[in-house]
Structure formats: C-alpha cells, structure tokens
C-alpha cells in the first residue's frame, strides 16, 4: 500500500474525476439524440461509479479489496448490458427505421 515512488493523488481529485465523468455521462444520456450515444453515455456513468469504487477500496476509511471486486462485477455486467442494449437498438431500428430517441415516444399513447 502506498509503495515508494508512487505518485500520491489526493482522494478529492479522484472523487472529482468520478463526479465529472458521471455528470458528462448524465448530460449525454439526457441530451443526445442518437440512441447509440445514449448507450455510450450510460457506459461513462458506470465507469464513473467504477472510479469511485476503486478509489474508496484504496483510500477509503477501511481499505480492502471489496471495492475492486465490485468494480470487476460492474464491468462484466456493463458488458452484458451493452450487448443487450445494442440488441434492443437493432430490434428497434428494424421496426421503426430510426435510432432517434425523440421518435421513440410510444409511451405517450
């Protein structure tokens, strides 16, 4: 832990990175017109969470490996999720001939 020669980055900076990443992801998910971009943005938000998990597993109150294991899980689940998401996207495209989020307003009816 904290081996010699390693660059000490303050916890606040890492958390700020996570927060900024999350906000970029949230902004993208809520504003992008293209469904693919929305999926990419969601990935960003997940990775922001991963950064936090890893940061706390190393620099938290009681550092242990749980956080890193969690982040591995999250990466796996995110991979599965993106596969399902892309499959849905393809299915939607086949039926509606569009990937525009604005056009997918079936809930309205």
């Amino acid at each position: 832990m904290g081996g010699t020669g390693a660059i000490q980055i303050p916890t606040g900076s890492i958390l700020a990175l996570g927060a900024i990443l999350f906000c970029i992801g949230l902004y993208g998910a809520l504003t992008k017109r293209n469904l693919i971009m929305v999926l990419v943005s969601i990935e960003l938000m997940l990775n922001a969470a991963n950064v936090n998990l890893v940061a706390f597993s190393r620099l938290g109150v009681s550092p242990n490996l749980n956080g890193q294991i969690f982040s591995l899980f999250t990466i796996t689940v995110a991979a599965a999720e993106i596969a399902v998401g892309l499959a849905l996207l393809l299915a939607v495209f086949r039926v509606r001939k569009t990937t525009e989020v604005r056009d997918l307003d079936l809930h309205r009816r």
């Binding site: 949230l26 998910a29 809520l30 504003t31 929305v38 989020v101 604005r102 997918l104 307003d105 079936l106 809930h107 309205r108 009816r109």
Partner: protein
Amino acid sequence: MVWWIPGFPLIAFAITLLVGRRLAEPVVAGIAVMATLISFVLSTILLLHPGTPGAVTQLDWLTVGQTHIGFGMQTSHLNALMAFVVSLVSTLVLLYSRGYMAGDERFSVYYQYLNLFVFSMLGLVLSANLLELYIFWEMVGLCSYLLVGFWFFKPEAALAAKKSFIVTRIGDTGLFAGIVLLWLASGSFNFDAVFQAAQSPGFGLGWLSGSGLITLVAILVFLGAVGKSAQFPLHVWLPDAMEGPTPVSALIHAATMVAAGVYLVARMFPLFALSHAALTTVAWIGGVTALLAALIALTQRDIKRVIAYSTVSQLGYMMMALGAGAYAYGVFHLFTHAFFKALLFLTAGSVIHALGGEQDLFKMGGLAGKLPITRWTFLAAALALAGIFPLSGFWSKDAILTALLAGGHGILYAVGLITAFCTAFYIFRLYFLAFAGTPRDEALYAHAHEGGWVMTVPQVVLGVLAVMAGWWNTPIGGHPIERYLLGDAGTSFFAGTSAGDIGHVYPENVLWMVISLVVALAGIGLAAWMYGARADQRAAAAASAAGPLYRVSLRKFYLDEIYESSVVRAGKWLARIADGLDRFVIQSIVYLASRMTYAAGWGLRLLQTGQVQTYGVVAALGLFVLIAIAMLRGGVM
C-alpha cells in the same frame, strides 16, 4: 304431513317452471291439478284431525343475536279450515282454467303463477310466526300482480296489475310497521309470545303505554288487511283486477288473495280483542265498505265488475263480524263466501267464454237456454249470495246480522240489512240481464255454447257446495263450525285467551231471520220487476229518475277520480320535484366531480410526453433538489 300441504303446489311450480314450456297443455294442467288435489286431500285430513291447536313444526331459520326465528308450519282449527277452503277452491279453479285458458301461448306460465299463488296462500295460512306470514303475504301480492297483469300486452291489464300491487302495498307497509312494533315490544315474532306479551301488564314501549300500543299495532295490522282484503278506502284495486283472466278473479276473490286479510285479522284476533277502539274501527270500516261496494254494484255494466264489487261488499260483512267480536261468524262467512263467489266467477267466466270475451251485461240476455249448467249453477250462487234460505250464504250472513244486532251494533245492523237488500238486487239484476229475456246481440248469442267438462265439473261441484256449505253451521247440527273454530281458544294458538275473548256466538232468532229473508226477497223482486222478461224500459226510467244518484253509483262514488286528483297527482308532483332535484342538483354535483377528474386527467396527460430523456431530466432535477436539501439541512427527512 303439514309441510306437504304447501309443498305439493311448490313442487308443481318447480316442475312447470323448469320444463313447463316443453310439456303439452294437458300435462301441465294435470300436474298442477294433481298437486293441489293432493294438498286438498291432506288439508281434509288435517281438518278432521287437527291435533293440538297451535302445534308447530319448524326449522331454525335465522339467529340474530338472542333472537331465534323459525320457519315452520302451525296447525290449528282456523288454519286447517283455511287450508281446506284454499286448496278446495284452488283445485277446482285450476281444473277450470284448463278449459278457459286452452290455446293461450303462455299456458304453462299461467299454471306456473297459479301454482306459486296456491303455494303462497297455503304457506300464509299455515305460517308459524309473523315474519314468515309477512313473507308469504308479500308473495301472495306478487302472484296477484303477475296474474292480474297476465295479459300485460293489454294496457288496462298492465295498469290494473300495477294498481293492485301499489294499493295493497300501502296496506302492507302498515302491517310491516305493526310487526316491527310488536317485535320491539315483545322481542318475538311468534304468535303465542306476542299474544302473551300483549296481555302482560308490562307491555308497552318507552313512548307508548300498553293499551295505546295494542290499539296502534292492531290498527296497523288491520291496515294490511284493508289493503289485501280490499276494504274502504283501499278497495279500488279489486274491481280493476278484473283485467286478469276470469279464473284468476275466482281465485283472488274466493281463496287466495282477499281471504288473506280476513285471515290476518282472525289470526291476530286476541290482539284486537284487547282493544275496543281497534275492534270498533274494524267493524265500521267493514260496514262502510259493505254498503259502499253494494251501492256501486247496483249500476255497473260489466258482469265481472258487479261480482267484484259484491266481493268487496261481502268482505265488508266479514270485517263487520270480526269487529263486532263474532270471530267464528266472520270466518264462517269467509268459508261459505269462498264457494259461492268462486262459483259466480266461474259461471261469469263461462258466460264470457261462451260469448267470445264479451263482458257487457247489456249485450247479453236469453242465455238460459244456451248455457243450462251455467244458468243453474249461477242461480244457486246468486241465491246463496242473496242469502236465501236454506243456501249457504243465508246461514253465514244471518249469523253476522244476528251478532250485530245482539251485540248492540244497531246502526251496523241497519247497514248490513240495506247491504243485503242491495246485494239481492244487483246479483239478480245480473241474472236477469244475462240469462233471462231475449238476446240483445244475436251474433254473440248464436255463437254461445257451454265449455267442456273441465269447465262444467268445477261449476257443479261448487254449485253443490254453494247450496250446502252453510249446513255445517245450523242449530240442527249444533253449530259444528262454530264449536270447531272456538276450539282454538285457550290453546297456544291463541295464547292466553278464553272462548269469550275470541268470539261471541249468539243463538238464531227466527224473527230476525225472517226479516233478512224478506229483505233479500224484496231485492230479488225489485230486480225481477226492473230487469225481468217484461220489464222493458223500467230500468232506464228508474236510472233517469235517480239521476245524479245513479251517476254517482255508476262512477263508483268518484273515488278513482278523487284519488287521481289528490293522491296520484300529489304523488306525481312529489315525483316531479324529486326528479328535478335529482336531475339538476344531485346530477350536477356528480357531473362536476366527473368533470374535475376529467380535467385533472387531461392536465396530467400533458406531462406524459413519451420522451424518456425528459423523464430523466425531471428525475435528475429531483435528485439534485434532494441532495441540495440534504446538504443544507443535514438530512432529507
């Protein structure tokens, strides 16, 4: 065994209800007649071996708190006699209907109703408690509604059915209120418990003393009888009920419907006996009814209407007898009346059947030759009704008149005598118009013929009974019916009563008998003079001489018009006000509520854009707000 007396008509009802439409007419009629015939045989056995009066066989039906209400059958001398009359007349009427209703497309439905009617009435006269009696009471009312309106496609029949139901309902409300008051005061629906409670010194409700309560309850119960037994002022439904098929009229008038009211007063007699005011009310209502109906019957043109008013009038006699304390005579008159009145209707039905539905007396005439059986049986019934020695009506009517005079009701005795004169006159007016003289309408006359055996046999049987039924209560036999009926006194059927309480009996007085006989003969003589073969224009001359009086009688004392312009119109106005209130006040409140919900929904619909990203923005904003609150206040809660 008692259960089977109403049981068989119920079974017949069930069969005709389930498969009646698929059965041929003779089968349907056969089942119904056999069922009532078995009931009649059982009733006869019960009449001969009534056992201990007041014995009850019952099932536990309802348990509400501490109150146990049974459903069962009670036997007594009165109940046995009633069941006997009801089942006997019903059997004959059901048989007769086979001929009268032949070819009607709802033949099986007709028998279905008749079976239910007979079942209800038999259940009524054997009821073990007041609540059960009330249920059967209402069922009888329902059946008469169904049967009076049987030809509902005729507007008059539909109206008459409604009228009979609504008018009797007014009385039923009184009966129901009476039953509820009795239950409140005694805590029971059982007759013996009610009678015993009424005689105990602690009887009464918080706001009403014992004697006041007894009078109130007796009059409320009597109101039920007024409706059912067509007493003034609720008698108006019975003559209109003529719109039903004629055998139904026979059934309603003789056995199943109007007898219920008289039976009710007889059944509750120990209660009436405790209140002088109630008895006086009963007697006077009876007297007014008897006279009024007899006066109306003098001028009616419709053959069935004359007989209908005569029923009202005779029911008045029965009520007079009960009100005068002559319980046994009232029931005895019910007994004899059932036979000759059923017969009058069946013969009238035979005349109407023969003339292809014609009911106007002034289109009949000379039918004696064409319808010999009908003519002779009608004559027997008419003589019985007029009270000619030694036919049945003589004995029962004379017993009532004797009781009135001997019991100190001089005015009512006079009313009874005048009524007897009118009765003899109007029934023989009918006889002479229909059967004597020459035909007034040749086309109808040529077509006239006697019905088949199913129609003539009941007429002959009832004819024999109309002649002989009175002989069961003559001094020669030692008044068997009187003694039989008074055998109920002091038993649990009439708990806590003595023979003197439930009815006075009086020995026959030859002079009074001769007076009533002379009065009846005078009525017949006048009818013969005015409507006989050589009468010509005497009737018309008398009518024009009587002028306004004649019109008053013809228009039934304008009672229908008075009710129309007062009660009915007031009711319509009330309905209109209620309708307006409902339409404009209540409905607009409801409409407002619905509009508000609709508007709210419409507003909320705008938020539902279907844009997932918009939802996300809102959710994120909400999250930020929560976080902001958490940061500023140190906690969301």
